[in-house]
Amino acid sequence: MAVAMAQARSLRVRHARSAVGVVSTALCAGAAAAALLLILGYVVREGAASISIPFLTQVPHPVGIPGGGVANAIAGTGITVAIATLMAAPIGVLTGVYLAMYGRGAFASSIRFLSDVLAGVPSIAIGLFAYVVLVAPFKHFSAVSGSFAFAVLMLPVIIRTTEEAIRSVPVTIREGALALGLPVYATTVRVVIPAARAAIVTGLLLSIARVTGETAPLLFTAFGSQFWELNPRNPMAQLPLQIFNYAISPYPLWHEQAWGGALVLIVVVLVLNALARVALRSRTSR
């Protein structure tokens, strides 16, 4: 009798505790989601009015002339990020594979440490570094120097996610390939990396999403431009820079366009994140 009551009591206590846990975590999750939705909703409300075909296909008009768009900035951001990806992806993925497959010694540990340090360096400092290395010597701003800064920002993300992706491939899969008489190299390239491919692609997309909205490293590298410019050796319009310049300008029209640009940027980043999720989900289905 007493035992049964004690049990019932401890059960009630447990239920109460778990209820408190569920409610408090749900509240926090709700708060986080609400903050996100609020920001999104605000940007949509302020930016939606500027979104139009001309806005997406025209270059900026001079001050005072209505209309104009951010097409050159969208193209510039696309080109700059694409070049950055071409620079960072091969090095990052190969480094991640190396760390996961062979990274036991002091050399690997120091690479891992450097990568972690790099991940914590403020993006403006990396922009300064790119300026010193690729802008100052040539006395010329260029999109490619911005790409270089982006690539440095992307590297630690790619290295870390690739290493994790490779490590999460079960050792039994690797042993299965070795037991068939495949050399270590073939095992890595034909079996282990493909098994980790979805997670590696996810990491790449997340690293792209991470830099697409970066503004600080572009200030003294890609610099920005009001014109169509597709040559990466020249200064090039960039969406985040355009938003920044419009936002600090005194003209109401430009303020509206800054919101429009911000909306475009957010949509691009959201799409990249969504793609990353899809890539991860398609891991096994075929």
């Binding site: 079960p170 050792v171 039994t172 899969i173 037991a179 008489g181 034909r190 491919r197």
Partner: protein, 278 residues
């Protein structure tokens, strides 16, 4: 017995070589450890060609570890070490300069848990070992190998219409048979099987046992099993292992299956096969 084509043998049939005289795989004083902790010690025995040898013993006695020493896959584990000699047709596979890759091509393995390659189709899983040495490029060549080996592994009828589906789309037992077909495709001379039937239903188990008997006409087969009846049914020779003091596995008794099961020489063997411990 099912009458199905076995893969052509790569072992030259030496005229005059008496069946029992020459060991296919000769194990001399093998010991293996994980991070300095010994798991098996001083195991010596001869695996005969065209023979099914069963490895039995309680869980944790080192059966898998011994098996993994026979195709040099043990050393792949971080911190794992091996000592002793394993001779494949007279050649020590642990001699300096011997390429473990070449050893593993000649000694195939089916793992305790099925491990199909997750990104490959059923068809590509089967021919994975051949594709890399440049064989089996065309689809018809792949299909030819796949049909032959999947029939052997008693899986063909279940997968023949979905060869392009992912290997992971199969059930656990089907995956295990896929892995058996994959191991057969490279036509090894010795086949190591670690509890190949532990995830199978009685019908597939019977098929796999038939397969072992068929393959034993050409290959040496070494099979780990917890099932005494299975060991008695399929094997001609049986090795009994037991983890003694310090939990290090040792070979207790080795001999013809019929003898070991009816007239065990060692008390511990008798206790084990009559179910008194383990």
């Amino acid at each position: 017995m099912t009458s199905i084509d076995a893969p052509t043998s790569t072992i030259p049939d030496e005229p005059g070589a008496t069946r029992a005289a020459k060991a296919q795989l000769s194990v001399r004083g093998i010991g293996a450890s994980y991070r300095k902790r010994p798991a098996i010690r001083n195991v010596s025995l001869d695996f005969k060609p065209r023979t099914v040898t069963a490895l039995i013993g309680p869980s944790g006695c080192g059966k898998t570890t011994l098996l993994r020493c026979l195709n040099r896959i043990h050393e792949v584990t971080r911190g794992a070490t091996v000592e002793g000699v394993v001779e494949l047709e007279g050649q020590n596979i642990y001699a300096p300069g011997v390429d473990p890759v070449a050893v593993r091509r000649r000694i195939g393995m089916v793992f305790q848990r099925p491990n199909p390659f997750p990104t490959m189709s059923i068809l590509d899983n089967v021919v994975a070992g051949l594709r890399l040495v440049g064989e089996c490029r065309t689809r018809s060549a792949k299909l030819e190998v796949a049909e032959r080996t999947l029939r052997l592994a008693a899986l063909w009828d279940e997968v023949k219409d979905k060869l392009d589906r992912s290997g992971l789309s199969l059930s656990g037992g089907q995956q295990q048979r896929l892995c058996i077909a994959r191991a057969l495709a490279t036509e090894p001379e010795v086949l190591l099987m670690d509890e190949p039937a532990s995830a199978l239903d009685p019908i597939s188990t019977a098929k796999i046992e038939d397969l072992m008997t068929t393959l034993a006409e050409r290959y040496a087969i070494i099979v780990v099993t917890h099932n005494m009846q299975q060991a008695a049914r399929v094997s001609q020779e049986t090795a009994f292992m037991l983890a003694g003091e310090e939990a290090v596995g040792e070979l207790i008794e080795f001999g013809p299956t019929a003898e070991l099961f009816t007239r065990p020489k060692d008390r511990r063997t008798e206790d084990y096969i009559t179910g008194r411990f383990g």
